[in-house]
Amino acid sequence: MLDIATLLGAGLLQAFEPLNLMMIFIGCLAGLFIGAMPGLGSVNGVAILLPVTFLVPPTAAIIFLAALYYGAMYGGAVSSITLGIPGASTAVATVFDGRPMAQQGKADQALTAAAVASFIGGTISVILFTLFAPPLAVFALKFGPQEEFALMVLAFATFIGLGGDDIPKTIFSILLGLVMAAVGFDIISGQPRLIFFDFVELQRGIGFLVLAIGIYGIGEMLWTLENSRGKVRIHAVSTTWKSFKKNLSHIREYLPTTALGSALGFFVGTLPAAGATPASLMSYGLAKTFAKDPDSFGKGNVSGVAAPEAANNAASTGSMLPMITLGIPGSPTTAILLGGMIIWGLRPGPLLFTDRPDFVWGLIGSMYVANFVTVALNLALIPLFVRVLAMPFTILTPIIFILCFVGVFATTDRMFDVWLMLILGLGGYLMRKLNYPVAPAVLAIVLGPLAEQSLRQSLISSRGDVMTFFERPISLTCMLLALALMIYPIWLGIRRRRAGAARGPE
């Protein structure tokens, strides 16, 4: 314990060196803006700015990139709330309640909640990281394909209640997302699947981002244009010191879900291959399932913004753990960070903690500092972000369309995906008008590939024996939890109906 304190102290001191502190500051700010652009997330930011880091010492470099990663996680919430477009898969769940809040004129409250929850999530997880890094690394190794699949089942179970009222349409939406996830090259059999019209571009598969921006960018804008008959009026928000204090006072409402989301996010983030997206979805699902007023979720409940934001920031810290201790990326962004570390001549792995304590503890120290810097920057910039909402729709709409196009192109580098986005957006709009819920499809396309791969890997390894999921302790636990989560809402429904019947008709 004393060791950790000494090492952490040294790490913090390192983070406060002028160069490193400047790196944190620039990284957080750049990340915040990159994340706030629809389409651009931490992956792009880190990949694009990686070469910048060859000029500074490795510790300063990783601090810069980690700060960027952090900033982008905060920034993702900004585009989810103000524009209704998730910048990255990690911010999808933030749209569910963040967008309605913005439409009700509570954008500043949603943004404050997102910033505060991100701060709490980030801080809790960096503390957990400091205390439990080595034992958790051992645990992560126990996570094989069986456990991954069980975790996916658990993730699906947590957001079972997210669909609409129409059961067949919800089922259709989920299945459509899962099938779209299968488009492309199957790594297990090495065969191309569902390549329509022999487009070689489809071998890469349909990116999550293409679908999400199509549906939430193009589709949502068309929907808004129609419903408002061109008189889009999203309430402009006044941002005064008083309203800011008032927004902060709401913390008590979402503190419990934030704490739960942080712990969950950190844990799921440390698991290789899982990452921040399932974490934020599970956190949202749990917050809704165990809320006193589950029906208010999706209509602008502040806990619905706080829960996923706490989890995705916690998970981004968590995913650094398998990267540093095992050299396994927990998320696409850490995959690039990992490449960076190798280029700087650092070999991530079990020995890094002992070989280069200056590097590891400098990074951990910087995470504490970066959290404070980002929350401060974010809160300070809220007035700027909400000003976007005051723009007339005839300016905002075309700008959003343009950002969707440029954002998709910048991430995938091909016009094919831009066209795909347009088609999927139109389809999503037409379906949504008929009460087909779109969120389940977006979630399914993120988790689909992981679920299918881990299912088939497990079965190949058990030679076709399905019992393999129930014979391993961690996998069994996840499966049982998933089962409990699926039964809970039904049980709750029955109990309510009974209670209602006992009270008699009102």
């Binding site: 299945l175 569902l194 008959r229 005839t394 440029v406 379906m431 009460n435």
Partner: protein
């Protein structure tokens, strides 16, 4: 078209889509069964989930005939008549912009699109329109092309050369 007909058409269309997906899997000769000792084959996931989609669409169709969904009882127009024009023109303008990207490149296409939308739909003054267009183009150039070193589509060679001529100033004088 009424919402009621749209619901029927959509469900039928999605049923066809699902069947089409199943057919594609079969046409690609992917394994849709259990491979002994290896678990599900490559086609199992897309094939059976598409089958599930087909069943869900059938279910929606049945509910349509019974009038169980609110949409199947709704005789109001599918797309609101008053805003149909606006939705249509926005979508068409967007499509035209993307076609133009292939020909004249990102910058001219986005400026034309934004200018058209602001001037003719928004009825903003020429001054505001032109200023916003220039601002947007500069923002995209600065953020994507310059800071994030992305090479956005430039269209035909003629337009690309024009862009490169301007871009050259940045390399010569600013960096």
């Amino acid at each position: 078209m009424s919402t009621r007909s749209a619901e029927l058409l959509m469900a039928a269309g999605l049923l066809l889509l699902s069947l089409g997906l199943m057919w594609t899997v079969l046409a690609d000769e992917l394994h849709i069964g259990w491979v002994e000792g290896r678990g599900p084959g490559a086609g199992v996931w897309p094939f059976w989930l598409s089958a599930g989609m087909a069943l869900a669409s059938l279910w929606t169709l049945v509910r349509w005939f019974r009038g169980a969904t609110p949409e199947s009882r709704n005789k109001a127009p599918y797309i609101d008549g008053q805003s149909l024009g606006l939705v249509l023109i926005s979508f068409v303008a967007l499509t035209v912009m993307l076609v133009l990207v292939h020909i004249v490149g990102t910058y001219i296409a986005t400026a034309l699109f934004l200018g058209f939308y602001m001037r003719f739909i928004g009825k903003h003054s020429w001054r505001t329109t032109v200023n916003t267009c220039i601002g947007m183009v500069l923002l995209i150039y600065f953020l994507f092309e310059w800071q994030l070193t992305k090479y956005l589509p430039k269209g035909a060679t003629m337009f690309e050369d024009g862009f490169l001529w301007i871009d050259n100033f940045r390399w010569q004088y600013l960096m």
